[in-house]
Structures are given as structure tokens and as C-alpha cells.
Amino acid sequence: MTATRTAALEVVNLDRVFDVSAPFLNRLLYRQGRSYLHAVNDVSFEVPRGGCLSLVGESGCGKSTVAKLVTGLYPPSAGEVRFAPGKAGVPLSAQMIFQDPYASLNPRWRVRNIIAEPLRELKLRRNDAEIQDRVGELLGIVGLNVADGDKFPHEFSGGQRQRISIARALASEPEFLVCDEPTSALDVSVQAQILNLMRRLQDELGLTYLFISHDLSVVRHMSDRIAVMYLGRIVEQAETEVLFADPKHPYTRLLLETIPDVNDPNRNREIVAGEVPSPLAPPSGCSFHPRCPLAQDRCSFERPRLRQMPDGACVACHFA
């Protein structure tokens, strides 16, 4: 944790449990108990102001749930989400950019109204003329024309739609943006445009990002610090360069080894066996032990704690 910069967001021992039980009558008839899904389990991290923390992991590891907890779309089951006071003295306001730009924009609204909605809803501008001025300004910031405001979302390509989502997220002048897989639905040539835009906005507007992705090459490009999640828990957290230079948790190593690298393809890579276990019945002890090459008896009953390493990384592994 960088001592020089203050934290914009502190997440402390965050837990979220979902009740995924069968309906009451089914439980009664088939004598089933309730079942719970521990989607996020004891997750703690800090995002430094003006920085970018990324959460990475495979599907079902709980990264999107963390995003929804941070933005308040889900209430936490336990733990705390603390935003530091922003410029105005009130806690920072967070906005969110979603993965699918086809699903996150209302197809019946003109782009102008989509972007103006937060301004109207939060009463940030006094009259319609001011709102339209601000919308024009926002369209300019994300690289669209003012005239594009009169169009409907279907007239835009995926990349342009994601620009509209970003403009909408910026409308309320947030200082904190939660980006949930913002480029996964885009093509590579367009992905670069959006990533460059996000980096530029971060510098110009002093934004802080919580970035969620499964793509490590994108994460490496965007973030200062990376937290790797596995089955609802953070297994390793480190500065970006430290994580890539010296991954300590066997799961992080697996992730880094399995990403196909265009510049340095490895055709004879050793294929790691095994799959992510069901989060409904996570393995005992260290949840990674059934797939881990280093696993010993101890791992199957004793859960490793997150420990701080000399280089600042935090790792949850008995053998790191």
C-alpha cells in the first residue's frame, strides 16, 4: 500500500452471501436444506487516489460482485466500503461502466437523453439549456460529435456505444469509476481506442479507477496495482510490475502461463489440468489446492492467510 498517496476507496473484510436455495415447496418435498453462495469472502483492498486497482480472475470468482458492492448495487453481507471525502468534502461519488454496450443503453432513447439523465435526475444543472451544453461537452470529451446526440444507440458501433456509456458515467462528475470489463465486448482495434480514452480521462480529470477484467494484458496496461481473485477471495495482491515480474501464488502463475501471448507464442506449453470448482461447494482449506502443483496435506485443511512479502506483495499461500 503506497504511503505517499491517500486511499480513495477502502474496502474492509467485505463479504457477500447469496441465498440460492430451491423454492420453499421444493425444499419441503425433497427435504433439501437452504444453500448459500459465498460470492465474496473477506475481501480487503485500497485504491489510491488517482490510481487504478484491477481485479482479475476467471468467471465466477466474484469480481463483478465486488464491483456491484462498491457501487452500492448490492448491500454487503458483512464488511465495509469506505470512500474518502472528495473535493467537495462529501464522500466521493462512484459511477460504473458496464461490459455490454449493447445492453446498457436504452434503445428507445436518443443519446442526448441517455447522457442527460444523470444530470436531470441528480439536479446538477438548472435548466435544459445548461443540460444540453453539458451533454455537448461530454460528447466532445469522449470523442463524439455534438450532432451524434440526436441519434439512437443502434446507429453506433460497439466502440462508439462504449464511448456513450463513458460520457453518461462522467455526466455527474464522479471522481471514482468502476469499470466492469469495459472492453471485453469490443474488437481489438476498438479496444485500444477505448483504453487510450480511459487513460487520457484519468490524467485529465484525475479519476480513480476500479478496473475489472479477465484479460491480463489489458489489466497490465491500465493498472497500478492488481488483485487476483479465486473463488471469492483475493489470493494475491501486488503492484503491477511486481506481479508480472514475480508472481508468487501458484494460481497467478497459472493465469500468467496460460494466456496466449501474440509476441511470444508458446505452442508446447504444458496444459494445466482441472477446472474451477463450483463456488457452491468450494474445496476445504486453500480453495486452490485440488489444482495446485505445490499442494501438500496441509493445504487441504488449513486456509493460508494473506501475508505481506518484502516487495510489498500480499499472498495467500503456505509456500510463497
Binding site: 485500444a192 481506442q193 508480472f244 509476441n263
Partner: protein, 328 residues
């Protein structure tokens, strides 16, 4: 490679059109490619570039009103684009296997995996007994690396995980020992650690059986590690084709060059990623001349009027005036 002379698949000047009330959209324009037995050809491009369309045209599964308006498709020297529906059904499955993106929708949730495999096996191997069919199904599941195939054969698709389901789909595609497999985004719905298992499996099967594979994907990393040759599509046209290491390491066409440069590198971090401005034209607004001209930094006068053909440049082919008489 077979020395019989015929490549496994040969596509010559394929044109696919979609007529609608405003005119005709050309989804694929003059696409030619060949795949040798035992070879993996990667087909890459952005969404809408026509990569899945190429696969659908070869399989004879174009959605109406789309149709093949020109060119020919030859499977080991025999034309298959002019076959009737009934004959094409025999070709699909027996000679060409297909693997689609989402393993959950390619399997019938109401039948066990064994029943679905058996149906395909019986369909294509006439006169096979019930016991032989089951033995073959178990052997196929074992071959694609599903642990405990004798028990798993009686399970339903929902009892398998995503990666295992995709293996079942691959087993289905292999059931009749096809010469060619068309794999349309086979790893896109899977997690990275599973993705590597599936591409490894495809490569192994391809080498062991001499099956040719057409691997359609948007993921350059998958191509780099799986394919032998790669074809790059842009707005329904092929812009570059060649051996994978050459095309990815030193791309010739400006589009391929931009595409490769815009991928964030794992090795080092840069301040700003290279970006190709704009986006791919829609099919109803493809510019005259080279389709890439509005986004191309090296475009000259000639690029706006004349369409470049694929020309050989050192072991690969690129469709760009830079390699044929200059852009002016």
C-alpha cells in the same frame, strides 16, 4: 500433407450476398483459401468481417436470404457448394465437423451425452450395432480427455462444466472421422486456463488424425499458439494470408499491422496503445477501392478508386497497393 494433389478444402473466389429491399449486401467478396490435411488455418477479423460467414458458407448453413453468389467450394477436389440439401446433410457431420462458440446451445439438454453421440455415429456409420456404437462413443469421450468416460456417457449436458461441455462438442464433431473441422470461436466462452486445454486438444487431434481445421476466432493469441497459417478478413474481403509467424510478427497489410500493434503487450507497458481510428465500415457503406482506405495511414489516390487483389509478398499474400505498383 497428402500428395494426391487435392488440398482438403479449397475455396475459390467465394461471394456471399444478402439481398434485401434496399439492394444487395455483399457479406463475402472474392474470398479464396486452401487448407491442407493436418493443417490448422486461423481466420481472424473484427465482428462483422465475415469470418463466421465463411464457415457457414462452407457448411452450407447460410441463413436465408443469404446465398452463394459466386465462386466454388471444393472438399478434396469435389464441389460441395452446388449440392442439394439432402446431399449436404451427408457431407455435414461425415466429412465436415462443426464446433460452435457456445457449448451449451450446441447440445440438446434433454438427451444424455451418450444418446447424442450415438445418434451421430449411427447416422454416419450405417449397420453399426448398438454395442459398437456405445463403445465408439466411450472411446470418443476418452479421446477428448473426459475423465471417467464410462460413467460420464450417461450424464446430461448440464452435469458438465463449460470446458468439459466443449470437449463433448468436439467429440460430436469427431464422431464420423471428418476430414475437415470448422471451429467457430471454440474457446471464446471459456476461461483462459480452460482455453489452453481446448486449443491443445484441437492441435493434438489435428496432428493425430490428419484432420484439417478452420479455426475462426477474434483472439490473436489463440491464433498465434494454435494455427499454422492465418487469413485476415476485413469487411468481407481477405486482406492478408500466410504462415502464422510471418503474418503476426511482420504483418504486411496496414490493417494487420495496426491490429497487431493495438494489442496490449504482456511483456512491457507503454504509455499509449497504438490505435486504428474509426471502425470497420458497415456492409451497406463499403467505400470504393480498398475497403480499409478511410482508416489507412498510407492510403494514396489509387486506393480510393481501384480495389487491390491479393499479391504474393515473400511467402504470404496481401491485398494492398503498397505491394503492387504503389498507392498513387
Amino acid at each position: 500433407m497428402l500428395d494426391a494433389g487435392h488440398p482438403c478444402l479449397e475455396v475459390r473466389n467465394l461471394v456471399v450476398e444478402f439481398p434485401n429491399r434496399h439492394g444487395t449486401l455483399t457479406a463475402l467478396n472474392d474470398v479464396s483459401l486452401t487448407i491442407q490435411p493436418g493443417e490448422i488455418l486461423g481466420v481472424v477479423g473484427e465482428s462483422g468481417a465475415g469470418k463466421s460467414m465463411t464457415g457457414a458458407a462452407i457448411l452450407g448453413l447460410l441463413e436465408r436470404p443469404g446465398h452463394i453468389a459466386g465462386g466454388e467450394i471444393l472438399l478434396t477436389g469435389r464441389r460441395i457448394d452446388s449440392l442439394g440439401d439432402r446431399e449436404m446433410e451427408q457431407v455435414r457431420g461425415r466429412e465436415i465437423g462443426a464446433i460452435f462458440q457456445d457449448p451449451l446451445t450446441s447440445l440438446n439438454p434433454l438427451f444424455t451425452v451418450g444418446a447424442q453421440l450415438s445418434e451421430t455415429i449411427r447416422q454416419h456409420i450405417p449397420g453399426i450395432t448398438r454395442a459398437q456404437t456405445r463403445a465408439r462413443a466411450i472411446e470418443l469421450l476418452r479421446e477428448v480427455g473426459i475423465p471417467g468416460p464410462t460413467e460420464r456417457i450417461d450424464h446430461y449436458p448440464h452435469q458438465f462444466s463449460g470446458g468439459m461441455r466443449q470437449r463433448v462438442v468436439i467429440a460430436l464433431a469427431l464422431a464420423a472421422n471428418p476430414r475437415l473441422i470448422i471451429a467457430d470461436e471454440p474457446t471464446t466462452a471459456l476461461d483462459v486456463s480452460i482455453q489452453a486445454q481446448i486449443t491443445g486438444l484441437l492441435r493434438r487431434l489435428c496432428k493425430e488424425h490428419g484432420t484439417a481445421v478452420m479455426l475462426v476466432t477474434h483472439d490473436m493469441g489463440v491464433i498465434a499458439e494454435t494455427a499454422d497459417r492465418v487469413a485476415v478478413l476485413y469487411a468481407g474481403r481477405m486482406v492478408e494470408i500466410g504462415p502464422v509467424d510471418q503474418v503476426l510478427k511482420s504483418p504486411a497489410h496496414p490493417y494487420t499491422r495496426g491490429l497487431m500493434a493495438s494489442i496490449p503487450a504482456l511483456g512491457a507497458r507503454v504509455q499509449k496503445l497504438h490505435q486504428i481510428d474509426g471502425s470497420m465500415p458497415r456492409l451497406n457503406a463499403i467505400p470504393a477501392g480498398c475497403a480499409f482506405n478511410p482508416r489507412c495511414k498510407s492510403a494514396g489516390r489509387r486506393c480510393y478508386s481501384e480495389r487491390p487483389d491479393l499479391v504474393p509478398t515473400t511467402a504470404r499474400e496481401a491485398a494492398c497497393w503498397l505491394y503492387e505498383g504503389g498507392v498513387e
